[in-house]
């Protein structure tokens, strides 16, 4: 099949597959539109479970005649205008798909009138290209959407529809959910011409309780705890059914995030966690909860039907909800326990009364006694309960909120966070410096190693060629081969580099794994007498309890060499010339100890040669001129 652009109708029908699942989803989209239009009164007429007719009438701002056609086309909305709006959505809808999608799978008529229009207009879309026809109509201010014959052109979807009763119960549930999210709006829902539900606007808490009672039942209202907590931009309010209101199905669970109804896994998890072991296995909590937070902290553009959201600080939100609810349930348990405690004495009283009744003969007296026994304690306990009931929820939440996230200020308080990171920065810096100080020299750029060789060869330059049999070093000088004895040359290099390193303050580097060396007792004595000189050279040496010599720190310049052999050689040199050791002799001794290492490790020889030729070029040249032999190859080749 060739690739081609889908018709507008088919594209909308595909989109409808996501959003329009059943009549109830149409109702949800239409009522949310009405709410976004600022309606205070919404009437719904349903026929045939919604598959025959869904009619939603509101008294919102209405849609101007000129915009009616647009309202029915896809990706058209008045709710957002650019991407940044998407980050702070307060309206229920924003995708601009609902009406177009619905009108692609049903016969939709949109009738609307704004405040400054003389007459209303009706619009409907038909055909493959969804061309919109607008005509004059009669309608008060507001909008009516009629959706007839849902799924008339998508038989596959139609087969998924259940009975009229089931579909209507879904619609009823949608209206219940929405009615719980906006108490100040009046809803009327009728089915097949009969008024089924009517929710009156509820502005005060009494009227709100009434709506809760109408929707969730009296049992829930009596056994629910009022939640009202806020912390750091998060606000949680609503009704939490105590364990006594727990249900056998998860059918009384209403959560709202910024007024949008949710079936969010994260929130449900937090709520269930708050009940901990207060619920049995097959019990489900009941609740109506409203979470309000900065819209920029939540992403609603996750699911087309917006059942789910993403919180930017998911765990903080989760834990906040959990803490508030767990705290409330805990208080409830304490309160219930206290009530039971106070109920006990009054039972005892009744027993007493019964006894008295038995003993006493005069019924009048009994009555008097009963009344005087009964009232004072009852009143007292009532008062206690009342004061407790007042005290607990009022004093505890304040306390609860202040200690909810005791440390969170560190996180959200920018200055505190800065201060903290500032501190770690300096720590990091110091340890970084420490690291830098003792970086292995082998990480020097590769180019530098060869730098000496690849220098533009002037006549003065001695180009190092190779080491022969660990005895001779060959150089190219003025086009002639020159050889010099390897060991003395290395001693010269070592002495040159070490003396410079000593002059600038030698860097002593700790060995991650110190080296333990078995030595003779005499050498230990030697070490003990000359500890200061060892330290001056950058060595930290100790004697272990098992009389081994432990090298803990070494001069950083020699860290890539065999420490054992350097120490051995150093000790031998020192014992050879035990008398009159001055710092010059010590330097010589160390240089002699290091020189063999340079011969066995050619890459380090190159590095040291490079370094000396850069730092003390003339000295190196003088040394080589005085100590090398010119080898006239021509002489051999010519003969």
């Amino acid at each position: 099949m060739p690739i081609k652009i889908l018709s507008a109708q088919l594209a909308n029908q595909i989109a409808a597959g996501e959003v329009v699942e059943r009549p109830a989803s149409v109702v949800k989209e239409l009522v949310e539109n009405s709410l976004d239009a600022g309606a205070t009164k919404i009437e719904l007429e349903i026929e045939g479970g919604g598959s025959r007719l869904i009619k939603v009438r509101d008294n919102g701002v209405g849609i101007a005649q000129a915009e009616l056609a647009l309202a029915l086309s896809r990706h058209a909305t008045s709710k957002i205008s650019d991407l940044s709006d998407l980050d702070k959505i307060m309206s229920l809808g924003f995708r601009g798909e609902a009406l177009a999608s619905i009108s692609s799978v049903a016969r939709l008529t949109l009738t609307s009138c704004t405040a400054d229009q003389n007459c209303a207009y009706a619009a409907s879309a038909e055909g493959r290209e969804m061309t919109v026809e607008v005509r004059a109509a009669a309608h008060p201010q507001g909008t009516t959407v009629e959706v007839a014959d849902l799924f008339f052109n998508t038989p596959a979807r139609r087969r998924f529809l259940r009975t009229e009763k089931t579909e209507f119960s879904h619609i009823d549930e949608v209206i219940r959910r929405i009615a719980l999210s906006c108490f100040n709006i009046q809803f009327r829902l009728s089915h097949n011409g009969q008024l089924v539900r009517q929710y009156m606007p509820a502005s005060d808490s009494q009227a709100q309780d009434k709506r809760i009672k109408a929707i969730c039942g009296a049992h829930f209202l009596q056994n629910s705890l009022k939640i009202n907590a806020s912390y750091d931009g998060l606000e949680l309010s609503g009704w939490l059914g105590s364990r006594r209101a727990a249900r056998n199905q998860a059918d009384l669970q209403y959560t709202y995030v910024n007024g949008r109804m949710m079936r969010d896994k994260l929130l449900n998890h937090a709520i269930r966690q708050a009940f901990s072991d207060k619920l049995a296995n097959e019990q489900y909590p009941a609740f109506v909860l409203y979470l309000t937070l900065d819209p920029s902290q939540v992403d609603v553009n996750v699911h087309p039907a917006k059942h789910e959201v993403r919180f930017h600080q998911a765990r903080m939100v989760h834990d906040y909800v959990y803490r508030v609810l767990a705290e409330t349930l805990e208080q409830d348990d304490i309160q219930v326990a206290a009530q039971n405690e106070y109920a006990q004495p009054s039972i005892a009283d009744t027993v007493d009364m019964a006894n008295t009744k038995d003993r006493e003969t005069s019924p009048d007296l009994v009555n008097d006694q009963v009344s005087c026994y009964k009232h004072p304690p009852q009143k007292a306990s009532n008062e206690y309960q009342k004061s407790k009931a007042e005290q607990v929820p009022e004093s505890r939440p304040v306390h609860a909120i202040s200690t909810l996230f005791p440390g969170q200020k560190h996180l959200t308080g920018v200055s505190a966070a800065r201060a903290k990171t500032g501190q770690t920065d300096t720590q990091a810096q110091s340890s970084h410096l420490y690291g830098q100080l003792i970086k292995p020299s082998s990480v020097l750029p590769q180019a530098k190693q060869t730098g000496y060789n690849s220098n533009t060869a002037s006549d003065k330059d001695w180009l190092y060629l190779t080491l022969v049999q660990e005895k001779w070093l060959l150089f190219n000088y003025q086009g002639h081969l020159h050889a010099t004895a390897a060991l003395p040359c290395c001693e010269f290099l070592a002495k040159n580099k070490l003396s410079r390193s000593l002059a600038t303050g030698i860097v002593s580097q700790p060995l991650l794994l110190p080296v333990a060396i078995s030595v003779e007792n005499a050498e230990i004595e030697l070490l003990k007498t000359h500890r200061d000189q060892f330290e001056a050279l950058g060595f930290a040496v100790k004697i272990s309890p098992s009389n081994k010599l432990v090298v803990q720190k070494i001069p950083a310049v020699v860290k890539d060499f065999q420490i054992n052999s350097i120490i051995f050689k150093l000790l031998r040199k020192i014992s050879e010339q035990n008398e009159q050791l001055n710092s010059h002799n010590w330097l010589n001794a160390l240089s002699q100890a290091v020189a063999p290492e340079l011969i066995t490790q050619p890459q380090h020889f190159s590095l040291w040669l490079n370094d000396v030729s850069e730092q003390a070029e003339s000295q190196l040249q003088t040394y080589l001129q005085q100590n090398s032999v010119k080898m006239d190859l021509n002489q051999w080749l010519d003969s």
């Binding site: 269930r272 996180l411 770690t424």
Partner: protein, 221 residues
């Protein structure tokens, strides 16, 4: 030798630790006047305790830093001849409940790792216990980068614990910090949170630093 006094400053502690750098465990045992065990199968923490003794540590196995006054945690770190870490490093037991609202800065992981005195121990299996060598101490705090990396791992793991997805955490979760079972045997259970928020029983877990991370610390010296 008598047990050293608890050091009063970082410098004193570092000095004590440098004193014993390069000593073998038998040297340390001799100084402390105790016997070296044949193997450490039955006394897993023997080496660490011996070092603690020499550094005058006080806390024992309490959940506070070993040098509480100084806020410094002591960690011995088994390494091979090349100074490479031999195993992951236990940081602390993971709390599976009662973690609501816990931030990184309040977490035991952060507190434990805020300042650590690492003592490498040359402890290849082939080396007898008595010949194992104590390395040079490294007094360390995470760099900003390291702290950020640990925090990212910690947050990922804590999110899963909090949302009841503990069973989906494997040793592969996290770049530097990992969560692994930490219990004497696999039948031990502790309370945790299930997928629906209900209480469940789960194997106790602990936070561990992966070798890649401790290698970074060792290489910084």
């Amino acid at each position: 030798m008598i047990k050293p006094k608890t050091p009063a400053s970082e410098q004193e502690l570092l000095a004590l630790a440098s004193q014993i750098a390069g000593f073998t465990l038998s040297d340390l045992a001799q100084l402390a006047g105790i016997q070296v065990p044949e193997n450490l199968r039955k006394d897993k923490g023997w080496g660490g305790q011996l070092i603690e003794w020499h550094l005058g540590a006080s806390a024992g196995s309490k959940p506070v830093p070993d040098f509480e006054q100084l806020g410094i945690e002591l960690k011995s770190l088994p390494v091979n001849r090349n100074g490479e870490p031999l195993e992951t490093t236990f940081v602390c037991a993971a709390q599976l409940t009662g973690i609501a609202g816990q931030t990184w800065l309040q977490s035991p992981v952060y507190k434990k790792l805020a300042r650590v005195l690492w003592i490498p121990i040359l402890a290849e299996r082939s080396i007898p216990v008595k010949d194992r060598l104590v390395g040079y101490p490294i007094l360390w705090s995470p760099t900003a980068q390291q702290a950020a990396a640990l925090r990212a791992d910690w947050e990922e793991i804590m999110d899963k614990i909090a949302f009841g997805e503990i069973q989906s955490i494997t040793a592969k979760t996290g770049t530097f910090l990992q969560l692994r079972p930490k219990a004497a045997h696999s039948r031990i259970r502790t309370q945790a949170i299930g997928t629906a928020g209900e209480p469940i029983a789960a194997l106790p877990r602990g936070f561990y630093l992966k070798k890649d991370f401790t290698r970074l610390i060792l290489n910084s010296v």
